[in-house]
């Protein structure tokens, strides 16, 4: 998965988890959970969405790496061996 694909996947997953949330308003280094008003269940849905789309098992200790848009993009590209 390359950078663009990862970004695309994150975008569509956020749209599913929180249809009202606007990812365009979120800076690359902002915390997704705070910026998009996601509670712990929303965030879990986000992780599950990424898992279902990629097949990656995402352990809880990796959650911090998914906390920002840029962080999530690099995590997904690294874990899927793309780039």
């Amino acid at each position: 998965m390359n950078d663009d694909e990862a970004r695309q996947l994150i975008r569509s997953t956020v749209r599913q988890v929180a249809p009202e949330a606007d990812l365009d308003q979120v800076g690359p280094d902002e915390t997704l959970q705070e910026a998009l008003d996601l509670d712990s269940i929303d965030f879990l849905n986000f992780v599950v969405g990424l898992h279902e789309a990629t097949g990656l098992e995402i352990p809880e200790r990796d959650y911090p790496q998914l906390s920002t848009l840029d962080g999530a993009v690099s995590y997904l590209t690294a874990q899927t061996g793309g780039g």
Partner: protein, 463 residues
């Protein structure tokens, strides 16, 4: 003849709009079936029926707004008996039972027109089933006549039909674990869904989007059912999002004003060390797949529900006097992103295992935000929990939802310096608060309640 009335879906509800009927005259219904979709100021709710029988008349048409208690439909109390065995046509019934039945028969067949001997035997078996089931079978492409019924008297049940459909399709479609769990909860047949996941696999969103309930929220038809008398007031469908939000805001305002006017609140707070709970959660989640993980609110909900056993004055309703509730249905305050908050119940929270509770919480939050809740969830929380802490506040002193008598608030988890046994340590902590009704309890008991929640959270493995 039984009456199905507009239910009260919360203390603040005065009227509701029947958005959609899911049954029609002649349909057989069972206690707990979802029969109508009703819209209130706060949300759209799937309304369950609490009587079994056959729908006789739909009194109120789709789009009509009527006060709580208005008769919506009439139903005959008994399901229609399967066609009586022909009086003379040697049915394979056991003679012991058939004979007294025949003796008692004289007036009945005469009054209704005696069944023609032999006719019942030639009726297709499908005639014995409710229209709902026949419809389902048609949809799933199952021949009801070929199903062996597992219901009373060999009657074919919904489960039988669905099982037959699954057998017919060979094997269940590829699906994600979360999708399977959701589908099991919702009673949705995976085979009936269109998968959008990798390789056409059914994933969670397909279940959520494709669940039968989702159809119920589709824009209601503009036409009024023929049974509907009277004029058609402004329908739910006609209301814009802005109007809905204004109505929701008004409903919340009215209820909270009533709470503050009538309920003598007292407030308590305590700091709880949640280190044991978060450590346990981390370990427990290591063993769980991505789709099966637990979140801290699940432990908080369970601890609150269990603590009620020690201090029952927190759980129940105050109308003229306090009535404690045997069952513990914890209302979960869920903020809607478009604005507003609703607090539907998770039934028997104290008895659910943590994984079940997680699944239910997950499902409830999703449906609350999608605006698809069930009548029983809206009507009967016995105590409410609010977890604003997830959005970054240290403590929340909530307003009690009448006629409930207590609301527990959990603030955000932060690392704090904690002195214990003469040592200073850094521990994850949160502030738990209680707003309670002084007519039902005193601060002393309230304190005991918070202490019990604290104690339970120190032993998360026993929750």
């Amino acid at each position: 003849m039984g009456e199905f009335t507009m239910p009260s879906l919360g203390a603040d509800m005065e009227a509701g709009t029947v958005v959609k009927w899911l049954v029609k005259p002649g349909d057989e219904v069972h206690r707990g079936d979802i029969v109508a979709v009703v819209e209130t100021e706060k949300s759209t709710v799937d309304v369950e029926i609490f009587e079994s029988g056959v729908i006789d008349t739909l009194v109120v048409g789709e789009g009509e707004r009527v006060p709580v208690g208005t008769v919506l439909a009439l139903l005959t109390s008994a399901a229609p008996a399967p066609p009586a065995p022909a009086p003379t046509g040697g049915t394979p019934e056991e003679p012991e039972r058939a004979r007294p039945a025949r003796r008692a028969a004289p007036q009945r067949p005469a009054a209704r027109g005696a069944p023609v001997p032999g006719l019942t035997a030639t009726l297709p078996p499908a005639q014995l089933h409710s229209p709902v089931l026949r419809h389902l079978a048609e949809q799933l492409g199952v021949d009801v006549a070929r199903i062996e019924g597992s219901g009373p008297g060999g009657a074919v049940t919904r489960a039988d039909v669905e099982q037959a459909a699954r057998r017919r399709s060979g094997r269940p479609p590829a699906s994600s674990p979360l999708a399977r769990r959701l589908a099991a909860e919702e009673g949705t047949d995976l085979a009936s869904l269109h998968g959008t996941g990798p390789g056409g696999a059914v994933v969670a969103r397909d279940v959520r989007q494709g669940a039968p309930r989702a159809e119920a929220t589709e824009a209601p038809p503009a036409a009024v059912a023929p049974a509907a008398p009277g004029p058609l007031p402004s329908t739910a469908a006609a209301r814009s999002t802005g109007e809905r939000q204004a109505a929701l805001r008004q409903a919340i305002g009215a209820l909270m004003a009533r709470s503050k006017r009538e309920i003598p609140h007292y407030y308590l707070s305590t700091t709880i060390d949640v280190g044991a709970a978060t450590d346990w959660l981390e370990r427990a989640n290591l063993e769980r797949p991505t789709t099966g993980r637990l979140v801290l609110p699940v432990l908080l909900l369970k601890a609150t529900a269990r603590a009620v056993a020690k201090v029952p004055e927190m759980n129940g309703f105050f109308t003229d006097a306090f009535t404690p509730s045997e069952a513990v249905h914890v209302g979960v305050a869920i903020s809607l992103r478009s604005g507003g908050v609703i607090a539907p119940a998770i039934h028997d929270t104290d008895r659910l295992g943590l994984d079940d509770l997680m699944a239910q919480l997950h499902d409830l939050v999703g449906r609350a935000r999608a605006g698809v809740l069930r009548s029983s969830e809206m009507a009967d929380p016995t105590i409410t929990v609010t977890n604003l802490g997830e959005l970054g506040v240290d403590a929340v002193f909530g307003v009690i939802y009448p006629p409930q008598v207590a609301l527990v608030g959990f603030g955000q988890v932060t690392e704090r310096a904690v002195a214990r046994g003469g040592m200073l340590g850094v521990r994850p902590c949160l502030t738990a608060t209680l707003s309670a009704d002084h007519r039902a309890s005193d601060g002393h008991r309230g304190g005991r309640f918070l202490a019990e929640i604290d104690r339970l959270l120190q032993e998360p493995e026993n929750l």
